[in-house]
C-alpha cells in the first residue's frame, strides 16, 4: 500500500562516496488524485465566492450605468424615475454600526478579559460555551426582543439623553413640541439608537471570541514575571495581556463592525425607513443597505432589482474590505497556529 519510496542504500562499503538519498516521496496515483480532488473543491469554493461578486456586478450594471457616481450621493430611492442612490442609506448604515460598536466593544472587552483572566478555571469552559450560544442565537430572536422589549425601555434613556445632552449634535432631536415633557414618545422610537443597541448584542459574541482567543495566548512567562515584580492582576492585564492581545482587540472590533454593517433583520423590523441622512441617532428614522434590499425586493421591477443589486454590491465591497483588514490584523497577531501533541 505504501508508495513512499525511501530506497535504502546497500550497506556502504568502506571508502565508497555515499550517494545522497532522495528524501522527498514520489506521490502515487492515489495521492495525486486525492490532491487534485481537494484542489478542485477549493477551486469550486473560490469560484462560488467570486461569482457572488461577479453576479452582483453584472446585475448592478444597468442601474449603475444610469446613476453613475450620483449613486453614492443621491439621498432618495425612486428607481422608477431613475432617481436613486445610497448617499443617505450608506451613512445611516454606518451610524447604526458605529452605535453598535460603541456599545459592544467595551462590553466584549470586559467579557473576554473576565473569561480569560478572572473567571475560575473550572467555569471558563461554561462561559465560553455561553458566548458561543449567544453567537448562535438567531438575529431574528434579538430583533424581536429589540422591537418588543428593548424599544419600550430605551425611550426613557433616549429622552434623557436628548434633554441633557441635546447640545451634542448626534443627540439632538428635532420634532415639533419635543421639548414638552408631555410630548409623545414615538419620536424616540424606531431610531438608529434602538437598532444599534439591538445589533450590539449580536456583535458582542463575535468580538468577544476573537478577543478572548488573543488574550489567552498571552505568554505565561511574561504573566508570571509581572506578578513576580509585584504587579496586581489588573496591572498584569494592562502590562501583559492587553499589549499581547492588541491585534485581537482591533481584529475583533473590525469583525464586529462587518457584522453590524450587514445586519438585516433587526433593521428591517425596528426602524422606520428614511432615505435622507439622519444624523440624529435618537430620533425616529434611519436605514441600512441590507434592510433596503429586504424591504424593496418585493415590489421592484427589473430596473429596481438592478438598483438593489448595486446597493448590494456596495455593501459587499464595504464588508469585504473591512473583513480582509480584520483577518489580516488577527492573522498577524496569531502565533502557535499549529500544535504538537
Amino acid at each position: 500500500m505504501g508508495t513512499a519510496e525511501a530506497v535504502l542504500p546497500a550497506t556502504p562499503t568502506p571508502g565508497a562516496v555515499p550517494v545522497p538519498r532522495r528524501i522527498g516521496a514520489r506521490s502515487g496515483a492515489g495521492d495525486r488524485a486525492f490532491l487534485a480532488g481537494t484542489r478542485l473543491a477549493a477551486l469550486v469554493v473560490v469560484g462560488v465566492i467570486a461569482s457572488v461578486g461577479l453576479f452582483l456586478a453584472v446585475r448592478a450594471y444597468p442601474a449603475l450605468a444610469v446613476a453613475k457616481w450620483r449613486f453614492f450621493t443621491t439621498q432618495a430611492w425612486e428607481p422608477d424615475i431613475h432617481h436613486f442612490g445610497i448617499g443617505g442609506v450608506l451613512i445611516d448604515t454606518v451610524l447604526i454600526a458605529v452605535v453598535a460598536i460603541i456599545v459592544a466593544v467595551p462590553v466584549s472587552l470586559g467579557l473576554s478579559l473576565f473569561i480569560s483572566e478572572i473567571a475560575p478555571r473550572g467555569l471558563q469552559r461554561v462561559f465560553v460555551s455561553l458566548v458561543d450560544l449567544m453567537a448562535a442565537v438567531p438575529s431574528v430572536v434579538f430583533a424581536l426582543w429589540g422591537l418588543d422589549f428593548l424599544q419600550g425601555h430605551v425611550i426613557d434613556i433616549a429622552r434623557w439623553l436628548s434633554t441633557w445632552f441635546g447640545w451634542i449634535p448626534f443627540f439632538h432631536v428635532t420634532a415639533p413640541g419635543v421639548s414638552s415633557p408631555l410630548s409623545s414618545s414615538s419620536v424616540y422610537s424606531a431610531s438608529t439608537f434602538v437598532v444599534g443597541l439591538t445589533v450590539s448584542l449580536m456583535v458582542i459574541p463575535i468580538a468577544c471570541s476573537v478577543m478572548r482567543e488573543a488574550f489567552s495566548q498571552a505568554p505565561v512567562g511574561e504573566r508570571e514575571a509581572a506578578y513576580a515584580l509585584g504587579s496586581s492582576r489588573w496591572g498584569m492585564i494592562t502590562s501583559v495581556v492587553i499589549p499581547f492581545g492588541k491585534g485581537g482587540i482591533i481584529g475583533g472590533t473590525m469583525l464586529g463592525l462587518g457584522r453590524a454593517l450587514g445586519e438585516t433583520i433587526a433593521v428591517y423590523l425596528i426602524i422606520s425607513p428614511t432615505y435622507q441622512i439622519n444624523w440624529h441617532i435618537l430620533q425616529s428614522g434611519g436605514h441600512s443597505i441590507s434592510a433596503l434590499i429586504a424591504l424593496q425586493n418585493g415590489d421592484a421591477d427589473s430596473f429596481g432589482i438592478s438598483a438593489l443589486m448595486a446597493a448590494g454590491l456596495a455593501l459587499f465591497a464595504l464588508t469585504l474590505l473591512i473583513n480582509f483588514g480584520a483577518s489580516a490584523i488577527v492573522a498577524r497577531s496569531r502565533s502557535g497556529a499549529e500544535s504538537d501533541g
Binding site: M1, G2, T3, A25, S27, G30, A33, F34, T38, A41, A42, V45, V46, S51, V52, L56, V107, G110, L111, L113, F114, I115, I118, A119, F127, S129, D132, L133, A136, P138, A143, L144, W145, D148, D156, L201, R223, E224, S232, R233, W234, L261, T264, Y268, S290, A294, N297, I305, G312, L315, T319, L320, N323, S327, A328, A331, E338, S339, D340, G341
Partner: protein, 394 residues
C-alpha cells in the same frame, strides 16, 4: 499564580519547626472582598431607592440600575481604600467592572431567551401550534387554530439540502487547506475568512440574481437552501480548518513513516482524530443556518400552506415565519411569532447540547466506549502478533 516557598533552614542553625505561619490562601475570593462588595451593593441599591421617587424626580428601571451601579463602584472603591493602597484599589475596581461587563452580557442573553419563551408561551401550550399550518388562521382566529408546521417542514428541507451541499464541499476544502502550505492555500484561507462575516442577505441576493433571475427558476425551498449553503460554506470551512490544525503533527508523521500515502493518512489518521471537532463544526454550522432569515427572505417566497416539495412552490422557514408574523402587528400573530422564535431557540439549544455532548473533547481524546474499543483492538493485534511470532503460527 504566585508561589510562596517556605524559607529553607539555613545550615548550621537548628530548624525551629513550630509557629509555622498560617498558610495564605492563594486562590479563590477573599472574604473581605465579598463583604466589601456586598456592602457596596446594598449601599448602591439603597441610595438609588432613596433618589428615585423620594429625594429626586428620577424614574425608570434602567436609570435606577445605572445610579445604583455608579454608587456601588464608588462605595466599593472607598471600602477597599480603607485597607489597601493605590494599585490594589484599581485592581479591585477593575475586577468589579470586568465582572459586571460579563454579567451584563450574560444577563442580556438570559433576558432575550426567557422573554422570547415568555411572550410565546400561550401559543406554545397548544398542540395545534406544532401540527397545523397558518392557512386557516386569519388575524382574528384564536390561538387554538393554526400553527407553524409549514415553517418547520420548510426549515427541515432547507437545512437538509444545505447540509448535503455544504458539508462535503466544506470538509474537502478544509482538508485542502490542511494538506497544502502553498500560496494558493493562503489565498483560499484569506478569502474564506473574509467571507465568514459576509452579510447573509448577500447570499440571498446572489441566489436571487443567479438562480432565479438568470437561470429562471422559481422562488422555492431549493433556492433558499442554495442561499443557506453559500452562507454556511465559509463558516464550515473555517471551523473545520481550525479543528484539523489541532491534529498533532507527530501522528501524521508517524503515519507517513509507516509508509502510508497522504490520502490514507488523512482518511485513517487526521479525520478520525478530529472527528468530534468536525461533528461540532457541522452542528454549529447547522445552528447558524437554521436561524438565518435574510437569505430565505429573498429566495423562498412566502406561503401559509405546508409545502413538502422543495423544488416547486414557495416555502417558508421558522425564522422567516417568526419575522413575518411579528411584522404583521396583529396581537395573535405576534404571540405566534414569538412562539415560533422560541421553537427555533429550542432547536438551537438542542443542537448546542448535542455539540457539547459530542465535541466536548480535544482532538484525539476518546470517550470511554471508544477507549474500550481501542483497547480491545490493540489486544487483538497483540494476540495476532504473538500468534504470528510463535513457531506454530501462521
Amino acid at each position: 499564580m504566585s508561589i510562596i516557598h517556605m524559607p529553607e533552614a539555613r545550615p548550621g542553625t537548628v530548624p525551629v519547626p513550630p509557629a509555622a505561619p498560617p498558610r495564605r490562601r492563594l486562590h479563590g475570593v477573599r472574604r473581605d472582598t465579598l463583604v466589601d462588595a456586598a456592602g457596596a451593593a446594598v449601599t448602591g441599591v439603597c441610595v438609588s431607592a432613596l433618589l428615585f421617587g423620594r429625594l429626586a424626580a428620577l424614574s425608570g428601571p434602567i436609570g435606577f440600575v445605572v445610579v445604583a451601579y455608579g454608587v456601588f463602584i464608588l462605595v466599593y472603591a472607598v471600602l477597599v481604600s480603607l485597607r489597601d493602597d493605590g494599585p490594589a484599589i484599581r485592581d479591585a475596581v477593575m475586577t468589579a467592572m470586568l465582572t459586571s461587563a460579563a454579567c451584563l452580557a450574560f444577563a442580556a442573553l438570559v433576558l432575550v431567551i426567557t422573554f422570547t419563551i415568555w411572550r410565546g408561551r400561550t401559543a406554545l401550550a397548544h398542540a395545534n401550534f406544532f401540527t397545523q399550518d397558518m392557512s386557516k388562521a386569519g388575524p382574528l382566529a384564536p390561538i387554538t387554530v393554526g400553527g407553524v408546521a409549514h415553517a418547520l417542514v420548510g426549515t427541515l428541507w432547507m437545512i437538509g439540502i444545505a447540509l448535503i451541499l455544504s458539508v462535503p464541499l466544506g470538509l474537502v476544502c478544509a482538508v485542502y487547506l490542511d494538506q497544502t502550505r502553498s500560496r494558493p492555500a493562503l489565498f483560499v484561507r484569506t478569502i474564506v475568512e473574509a467571507m465568514t462575516a459576509l452579510p447573509t442577505i448577500l447570499a440571498g441576493l446572489f441566489i436571487y440574481a443567479s438562480w432565479i433571475l438568470t437561470l429562471g427558476y422559481q422562488e422555492s425551498g431549493l433556492a433558499a437552501a442554495l442561499a443557506l449553503s453559500i452562507m454556511m460554506l465559509p463558516y464550515m470551512i473555517r471551523t473545520s480548518d481550525l479543528v484539523l490544525r489541532l491534529v498533532p503533527n507527530n501522528i501524521r508523521e508517524a503515519s507517513s513513516a509507516l509508509g502510508a500515502p497522504r490520502w490514507r493518512t488523512v482518511w485513517h489518521v487526521v479525520l478520525p482524530t478530529a472527528r468530534s471537532g468536525l461533528a461540532t463544526a457541522v452542528i454549529l454550522a447547522t445552528a447558524r443556518g437554521i436561524g438565518e432569515a435574510s437569505p430565505v427572505l429573498l429566495t423562498a417566497g412566502f406561503t401559509t400552506y405546508i409545502n413538502a416539495d422543495p423544488v416547486h412552490g414557495p416555502m417558508v422557514s421558522l425564522p422567516l415565519e417568526a419575522l413575518k408574523l411579528v411584522a404583521s402587528g396583529e396581537p395573535t400573530y405576534v404571540v405566534r411569532g414569538f412562539a415560533c422564535a422560541a421553537l427555533l431557540l429550542f432547536l438551537i439549544l438542542a443542537l448546542f447540547a448535542l455539540a457539547r455532548f459530542i465535541g466536548g473533547r480535544g482532538p484525539g481524546h476518546l470517550s470511554r466506549g471508544q477507549e474500550r474499543r481501542a483497547l480491545r483492538a490493540s489486544a487483538g493485534d497483540a494476540r495476532r502478533l504473538a500468534r504470528a511470532a510463535s513457531p506454530g503460527g501462521m
